[in-house]
């Protein structure tokens, strides 16, 4: 026969257990909600940008073809064509890749395979640190040093040009490419190198024929990350691009890539003009999706 106080205790325990079970199941639901927030954010971002950006074409009778292939962007005259910006974005990104990828990749190979340990131990963290430096500062440097240099060497009226954008973006993607590619190369098992050397291959031959192909997927990831940084970069590019609305025909032309168009005009745009800036955002978005897709395809083919 339990005493009344004991009975109370048992009831209390049951109560507290109930509470405990309630907290257990409630917390799992709370965690799930937190995890779903990133899905919700992504859907909100895509939804808002696409809704706003497609509005002029769906409801206001603007032609999407004219938008993509139009040569003139004069919001005050209701002319919205972004072909020059698309071309500028593509050229500057490809240019930056052509310069930045080989240099970055070779630096990563050097740090992982060739450099004395002590040297690599100083340089690697330093390069890693530089990946975190605000991109605006690369733009400030570009405007202060690279732009005047181009102006003097090529005798240009102003040095802000496609070439300046390419150089600044190439420099900016270097730390990202070096850091990620170096990690990938270091992850290649030692046995690969030993096997190749044992077969009589030279150290350099081993690096380029065995180690680099083995690290291919990591190197691809490095390139994709660098690419993402280059095509999405805005503030540094505004400072060195010149922002003219012409179709670039040479490296020394002043250009306005897609990102800078958004940043320059978003502050005062409203109505259709603002929606067209969102449409510019959609084009930028699609570019990034396509590029990632293409690179994923290339790397998966290479893997086979």
């Amino acid at each position: 026969m339990p005493s009344p106080s004991n009975e109370n205790q048992i009831v209390d325990m049951k109560k507290s257990n109930k509470l405990k079970y309630f907290f257990e199941s409630a917390s799992e639901k709370l965690f799930l909600i937190c995890a779903m927030l990133s899905v919700i954010s992504l859907l909100l971002i895509i939804g808002f940008v696409f809704y706003k950006g497609s509005h002029p074409f769906v409801a206001e009778g603007y032609s999407f073809i004219d938008f993509i292939f139009g040569m003139e962007w004069v919001p005050s005259e209701d002319k919205f064509g972004i072909l020059p910006m698309i071309v500028a974005s593509i050229f500057s990104t490809i240019g930056a890749l052509v310069i930045g990828v080989p240099i970055g990749l070779f630096t990563a190979i050097f740090l992982a395979e060739i450099a004395p340990k002590r040297v690599a131990k100083i340089i690697s963290p330093a390069v890693q640190l530089l990946a975190g430096i605000p991109s605006v500062l690369y733009g400030v440097f570009g405007l202060a040093i690279i732009v005047p240099m181009l102006q003097n060497n090529f005798g240009l009226a102003k040095g802000q040009s496609l070439l300046a954008v390419i150089i600044v973006l190439a420099i900016m993607m270097l730390p990202t490419i070096v850091t990620v590619a170096e990690t990938a190369i270091r992850a290649v098992p030692k046995t690969y190198r030993e096997g190749s050397l044992a077969l009589g291959a030279s150290p350099i031959g081993t690096i380029f024929k065995v180690v680099v192909p083995a690290a291919k997927s990591g190197i691809m990831a490095a390139i994709v990350l660098g690419l993402g940084r280059a095509i999405g970069e805005t503030m540094a590019v505004i400072l060195v691009a010149g922002n003219s609305l012409i179709l670039p025909t040479s490296l020394t032309d002043s250009v306005r890539p897609l990102t800078t168009n958004i940043a320059l005009e978003m502050g005062y745009a409203f109505g259709t003009h603002q929606e067209m800036l969102f449409a510019t955002g959609i084009v930028l978005f699609s570019f990034i999706l396509i590029l990632n897709f293409v690179l994923a395809k290339i790397s998966s083919k290479g893997g086979k």
């Binding site: 937190c34 995890a35 940008v49 805005t234 955002g281």
Partner: protein, 274 residues
């Protein structure tokens, strides 16, 4: 012939590494060389004035506001999301969708976040161009960083810890906050510090959501400019490279301190005995 080719490639490797290091040294060196003359007590702690070079205290305060607010929101959400993905979720379609969304968020350029923030937080939620609108935008930007680093930290906690705790009769939740999270704390902390760096370096998204008012913000609902936006604006509007570089020095020092403390904390993690 093979010897020649090898030497050529070796030379190329040395040259590339030299070039990378030289370029980066020149950039940082230039910023310091150009800006260090402006750095003094009044410059850093003084109020902004449009005449001369002005103080940057309002921009430092604004930057701190954005860091604190976005981390207050993003840290708990990010950690709990990672806990769900690592400790609770059954691998399946839902987890794949969440992982895909998180990865995609990482790849979106900041100007798109800026566009979204300018419409959603500034206009739709009627927050106006303000520190709070920028901070909420930044919250989404750093959320994937915190989720990923926390997941990595949780992965390093040995299974035996969980088993040991559960065998003592604790519930899953008790195991989580008494055993798993404390063990993963160094990794989580260094992830939070890395996201601070990301927030400090962000410019395009803040430019479109916080505006450019160069004054001490009255509250988190006022428009203000961060250090990066200030550096951009003084370059773009007045071509004052010296001032931009001085702000740059402050930014680089902040990033340096953040990185060093992240390294320090993760080194501690490696020394922990498990």
């Amino acid at each position: 012939m093979r010897k020649f080719k090898d030497n050529f490639m070796l030379g190329l490797l040395w040259f590339s590494a030299f070039l990378t290091v030289a370029v980066l040294v020149v950039i940082v060196g230039y910023i310091f060389f150009k800006g260090f003359r402006l750095i003094n007590f009044d410059f850093i702690f003084g109020d902004y004035s449009p005449v001369g070079h002005g103080g940057i205290w309002p921009m430092i305060i604004t930057t701190i506001y954005t860091i604190v607010i976005s981390l207050i929101i993003a840290t708990p959400i990010g950690i709990l999301a990672a806990v769900y993905l690592q400790e609770y979720a059954k691998q399946g379609r839902l987890v794949r969708v969440i992982r895909f969304a998180t990865e995609s968020l990482t790849g979106i350029p900041s100007i798109i976040y800026g566009l979204f923030g300018a419409v959603f937080f500034v206009t739709t939620l009627k927050l106006g161009m303000s520190i709070i609108a920028a901070s909420l935008t930044l919250t989404i930007i750093v959320l994937p960083v915190i989720i990923r680093t926390t997941e990595e930290a949780l992965k390093t906690v040995p299974l035996s810890y969980r088993e040991g705790s559960l065998a003592l009769g604790t519930t899953k939740l008790q195991t989580l906050y008494k055993v798993i999270l404390p063990s993963a704390m160094p990794g989580i902390l260094s992830g939070i510090i890395l996201s601070m760096g990301r927030i400090v370096g962000e410019s395009a998204a803040i430019f479109l959501t916080a505006g450019t008012v160069a004054a001490m913000p009255e509250s988190i609902f006022s428009s203000a400019r961060t250090l990066t936006v200030h550096s951009y604006l003084v370059t773009q509007e007045s071509g004052d490279i010296e001032l931009a570089a001085a702000v740059g020095i402050v930014l680089i020092v902040i990033i340096l301190v953040l990185n060093l403390s992240a390294t320090f904390i993760s080194k501690k993690l490696n020394k922990a005995d498990y």
